[in-house]
């Protein structure tokens, strides 16, 4: 395989990211001015546009990165060399289909997959093609897989499974049972995110082992332990979405127990922190490394938040508020997007054969991280106020709550704009380099 398909995946991913953050901005404006272009860019369209574009960014970039690492860095030829291009074309056409479905208002799907459900078919086909090619190629060429090969393989398989699970509601007898339907729906979303995390975290470990030139990073007993722990959580620990849905108690208690195992991850991070910081490496000024360090920091913050909201007594108050959005945007931006930026910087340094150093990106890097922190803080504060409104005020109308949050939403918007500026800068620079390589 030439690197063309993988670089095209990354190109589309960066374009989806650029569009995605703009849609997010439009959605936010409606928090401040509900009548703002209400006819043309209603929140009910901007939210799915935003979320779908952002998910596309994560998935396309992860896929492109994996194709690139295998074929260009490891130099393992794909057993079915034409499939990546076919996969790309299938996803590209589906992407167009999704946007058309949104623009024309054919949005019979549910949250996160709001498009008309027929489009699930080509998405599944794309994943199956990816999976077949991946497993045949890796099985033939590698014995004794480092952990990232396991993670990518797991990610692909569970992605296929949970995409199907998220559409079980298409079966009439299933959607009649409202409570079961709803909990399975949100179970699938939790695991869907778990699946792409397998892809993205695997990428993080891969790059780290390459930058440090130390394969043991991906072969130690502990990384395998955390891989299995992650897998258990992917399968059984989707708890914090559904504690409050009146399902049978055993479902809820089991999720509680499973998600509490993540404390081990937190303790391990704190324990190994000093080691990872004291690492002196001549490459520690390269952008990929910097973004991995940023991801480390965001993992730390987000895991604390995730652990807290997975305790039912805390979840009880945070569920259904913007604290949930702070958690989901915190992880998708802070962890997934930073690792994927690291990945694209790593790839770009491979194709240009030079390392992009931190010096030239200092401002956008700090702008990204600092505005993200303040952006999430504003969401968190809005969540606290909403929780207070839900549980500790009596009969205050919703509109009064929204009015009292006006200045918080302004802060949210301002740091949202800063975030858009930082991300746009980084994404455009990367896009230019990738595009020029493709053209050459």
């Amino acid at each position: 395989m030439k690197s063309k398909a993988s670089l095209l995946f990354i190109t589309f991913a960066l374009v989806a990211l650029l569009f995605g953050i703009l849609f997010g901005l439009f959605a936010t404006v409606q928090y401040i001015d509900p009548d703002f272009l209400k006819e043309y860019v209603p929140f009910s369209k901007m939210r799915p546009f935003h979320v779908t574009s952002i998910i596309s960014w994560i998935i396309l970039c992860a896929t492109g990165s994996i194709y690139f690492f295998i074929s260009k860095v490891e130099k393992i030829p794909f057993s079915l060399p034409k499939l990546p291009m076919i996969h790309l074309i299938v996803f590209f056409l589906t992407g167009i289909g999704i946007y058309i479905s949104y623009i024309t208002g054919n949005m019979e799907g549910r949250e996160y997959f709001a498009f008309t459900p027929i489009l699930l078919a080509p998405i599944l086909i794309g994943w199956v093609l990816f999976g077949i090619n991946y497993f045949i190629t890796i099985r033939k060429n590698i014995i004794n897989w480092p952990v990232y090969y396991w993670m990518w393989g797991t990610g692909i398989i569970f992605m296929i499974y949970h995409l199907c699970e998220a559409h079980l509601w298409l079966i009439p007898s299933f959607r009649e049972h409202f409570i079961k339907d709803m909990s399975v729906q949100w179970k699938s979303y939790g695991s869907f995110v778990g699946s792409w995390n397998m892809l993205v975290y695997g990428i993080g470990i891969y790059i780290m082992s390459k930058i440090k030139k130390d394969e043991s990073v991906a072969r130690k007993k502990t990384v395998f332990f955390f891989y299995f722990l992650g897998l258990i959580n992917l399968m059984l620990g989707w708890a914090h979405h559904t504690y409050i849905i009146p399902t049978e108690p055993w479902i809820r208690s089991l999720s509680y127990v499973v998600s509490m195992t993540e404390w081990i991850v937190l303790v391990h991070i704190i324990y190994s922190w000093k080691k990872s910081l004291s690492l002196k490496n001549k490459q520690d000024n390269c952008m990929a490394y910097k973004f991995l360090m940023a991801a480390d920091f965001w993992v730390f913050l987000n895991i604390i938040l995730a652990l807290l909201v997975s305790i039912p007594a805390i979840n009880f108050f945070t569920h259904g508020t913007h604290i949930t959005v702070a958690h989901s945007m915190g992880t998708t931006i802070g962890i997934n997007t930073t690792i994927l930026f690291a990945s694209v910087f790593f790839i770009v340094s491979k194709i240009r054969n030079e390392i992009l150093t931190f010096k030239n990106f200092k401002i956008s890097y700090y702008l990204f991280n600092v505005s993200l922190l303040l952006f999430l803080s504003a969401l968190f504060y809005a969540g606290v106020k909403r929780s207070n409104w839900m549980y500790f005020t009596k009969d205050l109308p919703f509109s009064e709550l929204q009015d009292s949050l006006y200045s918080t939403y302004i802060v949210f918007l301002i740091f949202g704009v800063c975030l858009v500026v930082a991300i746009s800068y980084l994404a455009t620079v990367l896009l230019k380099i990738v595009y020029n390589t493709l053209k050459a």
Partner: protein, 143 residues
């Protein structure tokens, strides 16, 4: 195949088996002692709920988008109910769009919200919070 690979495959197989059993129980569970099945009118309401992206601004059991209020118990809330819901659909307050539903469609949405209302409470203000972090939620059909 070396030992390490073999061990990984064994662990994964065990986990997947647990996962299958677990899913079997979830998919076939009765969800509660008195499961509520949506009527065909409510199912039409659900379809409209999805097609018009009500979920992007509203939540059910706290799940959805956050620009608007949660609607789990809007049907039975004091001073709200059927006509109140229809009034919102007709007028489009604040960021809520004005919808052009037929009477039948409005009834379907109301039926959907009514049947959701009958499944439980949100916010579950009478839940019992235990010291070890567990929450005993109050179910609607328990006495």
């Amino acid at each position: 195949m070396n030992n390490k690979t073999k061990n990984s495959i064994i662990v994964i197989t065990v986990l997947v088996l647990i996962f299958c059993v677990y899913n079997f129980f979830i998919y076939t569970s009765k969800e509660s002692e008195h499961p509520i099945e949506l009527s065909s009118e409510a199912l039409l309401g659900q379809k409209l709920w999805q097609k018009n992206n009500c979920w992007s601004c509203h939540q059910i059991y706290g799940l959805g988008g956050y620009l608007g209020p949660d609607l789990t118990n809007v049907y039975s809330a004091p001073n709200k109910g059927s006509n109140y819901i229809k009034a919102f659909l007709n007028s489009g307050v604040k960021s809520m769009p004005k919808f052009d539903f037929s009477e039948e469609e409005k009834n379907a949405l109301v039926a959907f919200l009514q049947q959701i209302d009958s499944t439980g409470y949100y916010p579950n203000t009478e839940a019992d919070i235990k010291p070890y972090g567990w929450v005993e939620i109050k179910y609607k059909n328990e006495k």
